[in-house]
Amino acid sequence: MPSITIENLTFSYPDCSSPALYEVNLTIEAGEFIVITGATGAGKSTLLRCINGVIPHFQPGTLQGNVWLDRATPSGRVPVARVSAPQLARFIGSVFDDPEGQIVSPIVEEEIAFGLENTGVDPAQMDDRIAKALADCGISHLRHRATSSLSGGQKQRVAIAAVLALAPKILVLDEPTSELDPDGTEAVLKVLFELNKNHGITIIIAEQKVTLLAPLCDRLVLLEKGRIALQGPPRKVFMHPYIFAKLGVELPAPARLAHALVQAGVLPPLDSPDAPPIPLTVEEAFTLSRQLL
């Protein structure tokens, strides 16, 4: 069942001659973990802003086409642009790239409570929901900490927990790890993976770190100058190293190894029926190499 359906979406920022997104069509299934990638300026953030309603609710510009949100209610799907930003919060949780700008409360538990208060949740239920959101993000121990004292990775997990408390069906995250160190990045991605697997939350994330996300995601979408250049499951899209090279997106090392093995004549062409699947992780690459020896 589709969760988000994007139809012929074209968007231009004010006073920009060329559109930041051009005729984008994309259907995102409920429960999917989808990674949007591409070079800087390819339009990743713009696409996410159209999905989470920041465009048109906060960012002006010219919008054509539609982004449909399936609310799984009898009234069916609605264009995101028609649902007010606070209303959208119940369906789509948005996490932005900078950990500072999105945290509004001095204490972690107040930050989690904020969305619950806004959506009129009964205060008697709040403690449980705060505890659950924090536990799901692996940060129960931070509950009473001052938000200003947290590391970047902790702040991003607080930001995720804060939107998660509203029980959204979809999480939209714009480079949530761009300002984080490797440990923080790993912790945040692990949380997203578990939310997707255990709670069936649709994850839509813009990231440059394809290597880390390939083993976690269902689908990769490569953007080029506001258009979808390539999309599919990671093992499929990694069959096209030249497109990655052309777009300036780094092909993960395990996939590069597979291509090198083909070139060396050790492996059959990767699209032939007897070729092994492209490895996504170092472990898979190791297993493949071992089989060959």
């Binding site: 989470n52 309603g53 920041v54 609710h57 906060f58 007010s84 930003a85 606070p86 209303q87 959208l88 919060a89 119940r90 949780g93 948005s94 932005f96 700008g101 999105q102 945290i103 509004v104 409360s105 001095p106 538990e109 107040e110 409570a113 904020f114 969305g115 619950l116 208060e117 806004n118 959506t119 009129g120 949740v121 009964d122 205060p123 709040m126 705060i130 001052a146 200003s148 004292s149 804060a162 939107v163 509203l166």
Partner: protein, 257 residues
């Protein structure tokens, strides 16, 4: 001076007061400082603010801001001293220009003016460093029924005070260096010189408010029927402080008229 002043969580008794109480405090100090015309009471008021800053454990930040303020205050005092026409003439630096003479009342007026500015700015800095922006927005919306777009604007404007003063000081220095008469041209001309410099800073400030509005609205802020995790109602201490503040304002009004 930093570009903007931020909430500093120290958990002091001042921090624990309700945002509304602290807002009333800043406004009461503003009113009282307007009613006082003598340097001494204004100086006393100023030192009590520093005392409160110490109580709130934000002295360091406030003092560094005050240091920046001193220069602006000095300019302000100087301007008043030279251009205040009334009172007994103490001396005239340029005999052919009687308008520039220094009078006893001019000195008092200049010093009071400078102190008043320091008092007002310091009280708002105290408010900003001890109150999270979120609580201010909530108080404005919930208690004072301010539409929340305006509440965000208010926060932005407040945060912008130190930046703006710093700008004024820099412009003053630059004009001094170029041997410009700072008072040259009307207030409009002066504003024109400040404007292009201040504009990018206003933009940054507005962007930040916009980002905060986005962070809040994408989490449901603005929906009807808001509930409260912990009732953020003003407590007994808050009521006492507010009553004391209002009495002080009333006393100042009575003394003045």
């Amino acid at each position: 001076m930093s570009v903007s002043i931020e909430y500093i969580p120290t958990g002091s008794p001042v921090h624990r007061l309700h945002a509304l109480t602290k807002l009333i405090f800043a406004l009461a100090v503003l009113t009282i400082s307007m009613l006082l015309s003598q340097p001494l009471p204004l100086l006393l008021l100023f030192f009590s603010l520093l005392g409160i800053a110490a109580l709130a454990s934000v002295s360091q930040e406030i003092l560094s801001a005050v240091k920046g303020l001193l220069k602006v205050a000095f300019f302000l005092a100087l301007l008043q001293v030279f251009f205040y026409p009334e009172g007994t003439v103490l001396f005239a630096p340029i005999p052919s220009l009687p308008g520039l003479s220094v009078t006893d009342q001019g000195i008092i007026f200049g010093i009071s003016m400078a102190l008043r500015m320091m008092v007002i700015v310091t009280s708002f800095l105290l408010f900003l460093t001890t109150t999270p922006a979120r609580s201010t927005v909530l108080s404005l919306v919930e208690y004072l029924k301010v539409p929340y777009d305006y509440a965000f604007l208010f926060i932005t404007a407040l945060r912008f005070i130190p930046t703006f003063l710093e700008e004024v000081r820099l412009i003053g220095q630059a004009q001094e260096a170029r041997a410009h008469d700072f008072s040259g041209g009307g207030p409009l001309a002066r504003l024109k010189t400040i404007f292009p410099l201040a504009l990018p800073l206003v933009m940054i400030s507005l962007q930040r408010a916009e980002r905060m509005a986005m962070a809040m609205e994408t989490r449901g802020f603005g929906l009807p029927g808001r509930t409260y995790y912990r009732t953020e109602k003003p407590g007994a201490v808050d009521i006492m402080v507010i009553v004391a503040l209002l009495s002080a304002v009333a006393a100042a009004v009575l003394l003045r008229f």
